[in-house]
């Protein structure tokens, strides 16, 4: 059923745009133009995190660390192969996308591990970035309970995500 989701959204958006007399061609030109700027801005982040990931993998450290984490993670239903992703997600959104691509290439896009990773990457936000940037205009000194609450709830979301990928 979800296979129809994207085409239906696209058809809906385009028909709605026609009804509202919006210039669809111009919208697509704008979108394509903006995508170049966007990727140019995030490329350094992706490149640098990929250097770190590749070294971490190639040195064999990744295997050791996932070995440590595998037991507590398995207990919660999170595959140990995506332990790195769970740790990186609150820190860097672009890094998480890069790592997701890596996991997809390694384990196959429709494997359980890659689907878990995709769900986790799609369902979470870079908590530390958000909490730093949102208060740039009003200078708040202490966030009290906000960060622990956000981290804990998004971790709950990740556990839910892995459980759901088992059945869906």
């Amino acid at each position: 059923m979800t296979a129809y989701l994207l085409p239906v959204i696209l058809v809906g958006a385009m028909v709605y745009a026609l009804v509202k007399k919006v210039n669809v061609y111009d919208c697509f030109l704008d979108g394509a133009r903006d995508s170049l700027t966007l990727v140019r801005n995030i490329f350094p982040y992706i490149a640098v995190i990929f250097i770190a990931i590749e070294l971490f993998r190639a040195s064999g450290l990744a295997a050791i660390v996932s070995g440590w984490l595998s037991h507590p993670m398995k207990y919660l239903g999170i595959p140990p192969e995506i332990a790195e992703l769970v740790l990186l997600v609150p820190l860097s959104g672009n890094g998480a996308i890069a790592l997701l691509e890596d996991i997809i290439n390694t384990y196959g896009v429709d494997s359980y591990i890659a689907r878990c990773a995709a769900t986790i990457a799609g369902a979470s936000e870079t908590i530390f970035y958000v909490s730093a940037v949102y208060f740039t205009k009003c200078k708040v000194k202490t966030l009290r309970y906000a960060i622990p609450v956000s981290l804990f709830s998004s971790f709950c979301g990740m556990v839910t995500a892995c459980a759901l990928c088992r059945v869906m």
Partner: protein, 202 residues
Amino acid sequence: MPSAREIECSMNIVFVALTLLSLVFMTFAAPTAALPSMISGVTDAVVLALKLTAIYAVWLSVLKMAEATGLDRKLSRALRPVIRRIFKGESERSYDHISVNLASNMLGMGGATTPAAIEAMASMCREEGKATDNMLMLLVINATSIQIIPATVIALRAAAGSANAASVFLPTLIATSCATGIGMILAKVCASASAQKEKRGK
């Protein structure tokens, strides 16, 4: 509270720790593999950047259409009553910013989300340097992600040749709603706990 500078600092720590440890490890285990694996990392990054350019070119176009038809404004108007209930006792201007922030976050319009959130936080700020419970609630909702369609993730899966790229749509939606729900409840609990503590303190 972490400032943007401190975030970069903490990424610096993460990056240095990861690469330095790996490099030291490799010096003993596989000294010839160090440089090639760094370069192959960036090669992967270039390939991913090209894929992302394609993904964003399509998805940003769809979002531009939605923006031009006023879909984001419609959603933010629909969210208004709910927002009024969650964030009690704020000004109309704050409600405006909050609804734009949440609506654009739900639609995945990254561009409008952050400025609206910054304005909302500034308009809710009563006392310099102090975060009110409503401000922290907005932060928690944003930090637990409320995106309806995880477009980048679905497109990445499609580009990798998935049999059904959108199959992660429902699990993602449920997982993110769970996270946001738990976050909102915990934020409320923490807020009332700290209010009681303050009362007792006086």
